[in-house]
Every structure is written in structure tokens, then in C-alpha cells.
């Protein structure tokens, strides 16, 4: 199934499929942070998710939709999606071929291998990634597991906001980061069908602000040269993702890497949890807009915690 999501059904199906497979992630609050931000913030902690990021949701739901005869899957990824696909493949008894740029951190390659994935290294550019993956598909008949631009992936990612809304139903607004747009599109659809008109905002790195520029111009920016330490958000917005986002997002707020690092530090200090830089972007964006949300109930999706500890920016 890869048809636009135009009813509550595909979202309910994703939630029902993943409910027995992925334990709910915790929602944390900090009185100190609330005082500092001037609003009540609920942090949905996907850094505690299987594989260390929300990507496990989309990959696992996608994999559950595949017919059993599909015994090999593939994707290209320098980060969390590769780990999620390797894990979801192992969970469903499949072989996973993960194409990774040869300059990907050793720790990320090791994580893919830990989940039983086969790492195939290529030159660090988009063309090399796609060409090696095409070659592997030709050789093995592997099925491609898309990182964000697919309705099943979007439905899978929507379960994060669904879970949060089940636990904290009366949020005034909800914040996510935006890279390829899988999580943001899923969250917007979850807000449409499972909330009473909650506004959804996204934070985006200034150095990879294609989603911001796309909604401002109304035309999807399909290429960019990203320059940001938020490595999970260097991707370009997907087509299907843009369709949803341009209709529904309340706003996208670009943030500097310095603001992202400050927000990341706040989370380490106050929530005592480990997150990756990309994950701090929506908190950085909320801080820029916080006067508007004074006294309100605000949700933030903390997307992941896979960070190279020897490269922490503080």
C-alpha cells in the first residue's frame, strides 16, 4: 500500500501493529525546565526507543506490511534508519543489506552489525549510495525500505505522537524536528485524527532549511548542501512528506547550531538523558518562540540518542 493517508484507518493500523512490538517510551517532565521555559513541557523520549530512535517505528511497521516471501531488505543510511532496518529485519527473520558511506562513524557501522545487518561501504555521496544499493537489489532481489518518503513509513512514525496523545491528551502544541519529513508528516496526521486541533510545529537547522524554504515558497526544495551538526536532519524533504506538511504544519522555525547545542545541554543537565544533536532542534525552536506558549501545555518529540560520546559539542 502506498496511497495517500486520507482516513484514520492507516494510522490505527500502524498503532495496532506496533503496540505489541514496541513498548511505549517514557514521557518526562522537569519542574526546573518548566520554570525556565515558562510552560509545561512533556518530552516524549524516543532516545529510549528500540535502536535508540523513533526510526524503529517506521521500519518495523513497513517490514510488517511486507509479504513473508520477501526475505532480503536493503536501504542506504549513514545513521538511525540503517540501525532500525537492520533491527526490524532481524525481528522478522530477514537479511538486511545496509549501504553506508565509508566515512560514517565506526560506532554506527558497529551498531548495524550488532543488529545482524550486513554493511556495504560506498563513497560518501548520494550517487554512490544509490548505485551500490541498485546493484545489491539486482543481485539479491532485496526490497528497499524507504527512510521517509512512503505512506507506510509515515503511518509508522505517526505512532509516536499517537502514543504521546494517549498519555497526555490535552496538549496545546507539539514540536518535532524536520529532515526528510517522515516524523513531521506522521505527527501532523496524528494531530488531525487524534487531537482537537493541536498545532504542530517543527524546528529545522538553519544550515539545512529546505523544509522552511519549501513551505515559504510553496515549491519543494529538492536539493541542498547541508551545513549543520544535526546529522540526522541533513536529508532533503520527501515528496509525500511535503504534501502533508505544506497543508498542515503551523510553522517551521530555523535554528542555529549554537541554539541547538544550548538546548542539547539543557536536556543533559535537566532531564539527565542522552540525546543526539538533531533531537535538540525542536527544543531550540520552542525557546525562540516561547513567549507565545507561556503557561501552555507543550509536547516535544525527542527523536533519538545515538550520539558519538567522544564528539559531544560541550
Amino acid at each position: 500500500m502506498n496511497e495517500p493517508i486520507q482516513s484514520i484507518r492507516p494510522l490505527q493500523k500502524a498503532r495496532a501493529t506496533l503496540r505489541p512490538l514496541l513498548p511505549p517510551t517514557p514521557v518526562l517532565e522537569s519542574q526546573g525546565l518548566n520554570a525556565l521555559l515558562g510552560c509545561q513541557v512533556f518530552f516524549k523520549c524516543e532516545n529510549f526507543q528500540k535502536t535508540g530512535s523513533f526510526k524503529a517505528r517506521g521500519a518495523r511497521f513497513f517490514m510488517a506490511q511486507l509479504p513473508p516471501r520477501v526475505n532480503t531488505v536493503t536501504t542506504h543510511s549513514s545513521g538511525n534508519h540503517g540501525q532500525a532496518v537492520a533491527w526490524a529485519a532481524r525481528e522478522t527473520g530477514r537479511r538486511a543489506l545496509i549501504v553506508m558511506p565509508e566515512n560514517a562513524p565506526a560506532v554506527k557501522m558497529a551498531a548495524v552489525k550488532d543488529y545482524g545487518g550486513e554493511v556495504h561501504q560506498c563513497a560518501p555521496n548520494q550517487a554512490a549510495r544509490e548505485s551500490l544499493m541498485a546493484q545489491l537489489r539486482d543481485q539479491t532481489g532485496a526490497t528497499f525500505i524507504p527512510p521517509y518518503d512512503h505512506w507506510d513509513t509515515i503511518a509508522g512514525q505517526s505512532t509516536c505522537a499517537q502514543e504521546l496523545l494517549e498519555e497526555v491528551p490535552d496538549l496545546d502544541c507539539l514540536w518535532t524536528p524536520v529532515g526528510g519529513g517522515g516524523l513531521l508528516a506522521g505527527t501532523l496526521l496524528a494531530a488531525k485524527y487524534f487531537s482537537g486541533g493541536m498545532a504542530v510545529y517543527a524546528g529545522e537547522p538553519e544550515g539545512a532549511d529546505d523544509a522552511y524554504r519549501s513551505i515559504r515558497s510553496g515549491v519543494r526544495v529538492s536539493e541542498q548542501t547541508p551545513d549543520t551538526l544535526a546529522d540526522g536532519l541533513r536529508t532533503t524533504l520527501g515528496k509525500r512528506n511535503f504534501e502533508v506538511i505544506k497543508q498542515r504544519v503551523a510553522d517551521i522555525i530555523p535554528v542555529s547550531d549554537a541554539d541547538t547545542v544550548a538546548a542539547m545541554r539543557l536536556v543533559y543537565e535537566r532531564l539527565k538523558i542522552v540525546i543526539e544533536p538533531s533531537c535538540a532542534v525542536p527544543l531550540a525552536a520552542l525557546r525562540l518562540a516561547r513567549e507565545r506558549w507561556a503557561g501552555k501545555r507543550v509536547g516535544i518529540l525527542l527523536t533519538g540518542g545515538n550520539v558519538d560520546l567522544s564528539q559531544l559539542p560541550f
Copy 2:
């Protein structure tokens, strides 16, 4: 009340007093860590406790036992106990005078002030700390809140293991660090009265191994020159603490700072939580002894998460 704990009552009283005041801290598990360690480990996360460490328990229970006429309290601390006392004083409407060595990290002084405590700086040695505190007591009539060597403090700290045992009743063993011995003594008493003979072990830094040497010799080592990065465990074992520990502890295992750093890194990578070096010591000790616990159910009290992020040892 400062009489030896010889029945279940004082422990029950501490638990009943703190139950409505301190929400239970989460217990985390990681399949990856279980596989690595060869046993099932339950991490009781006091880094999420109020003030960022278990010290809030002892300080808050002690403060609840004080008569209302006591309106000023004091202690000396370079770390978590100072924050806990400042917080507990504010919660009970009291003034807190916290003596801190002038070389204590600025971030720790700021935390005490954030909780409304008054910081009084002194020279960085024990004599200066005690003399300034005595002077403040003379001037203000402040009541001293002891960090570990008091039965009410020990009863307060026992609530951490009590809470864990309520959630995970069938542990084969439980691990804590040992510095002054408040948490270890409280945990030993909780194990005596609330478990079916669960063994309690402690990890201790090699560079501050007074508790290890005390139980080996049977005589409390009352002075040492600590040399360890586990700053919360540089204190010397208390008298009352030693009474309990020498009778009941299964063993104390000295660990190197290198092993502590490796354990700390594992917790950041696998559990995705922020802990301080002292907090990683029992995991380091368990790793040294892990063959003995293969396949067993093991608890670890993770004591705190107040770490200077610009000084992380990795």
C-alpha cells in the same frame, strides 16, 4: 531519634513519609546490556530523583523528623548532599546555610543557590569546613543535617532499595557504591527486612577504598587521602554506617577509575541516560564479578546524574 535501627519500623516510617513527597524513580533495563553482562540487570535511576541524586531521600526524611521550630539548617558539602539539603529546606520552609569549599564547581554552587540555599565558601579542607559550619551554627542556631552518619539519614536512604524491591521483588543481588555508607547501610537494612535474603554488594573506587579496608581488617579506617575521579565517594565511612556494613555486606569490590569510566560510558551509550562518575562504580564492580551472576537477576542503584558536562571523561 538517633538509635540503631533494630526493627522494620523506622524503615517503614521513612518509606511512608517519603512516598507522597518523592515520586518513584524509573527502573530501566537494556537487552543489549543484559546480553553484554550475561545477567538481567535492573537499574534504579536516582539520577532522575529530585535534585539529581538519592541524597534527596535522606535529607528530606531527616528534615521531616525535625520539629517545626527548627527554622534554619546547615551542612557542609561539595556535592549532592548540599543540593539535597537546600531543596529539602525550601520544601519545608526553612533557611539553608551550605558550607562549600571555594574550589567546588561553579555549577554545583549555582544549583544550591537555585534551590534557595545560601552558599558560604571556605578553604578546601575538612577543618575549614567544620570550623565555618560551627561558626554559622553558633551565630544562627542552625541544625546540622548529616550526610550519612545518622540513623534517620540511613532510614531515608533505605527507601531507594525499598522502592526497587516493590517493583522488582525477586532480585538475586543488589549493588550500590560506598562513600560515607549512608546508601549502602540503608540498602543492607532494606534487604534484611524486605527481601528473602538478597545479597548486597558495593563497589568502591580503588583510590578511596577505606570501606574495603575497614571490612577486611574489622576496624573502621577513619582517615584517607582519596585519589579518584568518583568525586561523590571521596568521603570516609561513617561510624553507624560501618556497624551495619561490617555485619551485613556480602562483599566490597574495589574498582579502578578506568573501569568506572568504561562503565559510565556503557550507561550513556546503552541506557541513554546521564550519570556522574560515582554512579558508575557498582556497574564497574559487577562487571568484574559477572561470571558469578550469570543468568541471575541483578539490581543496581544508579545514584546520581550531577556531572559537569564540560568535564566528561570521554
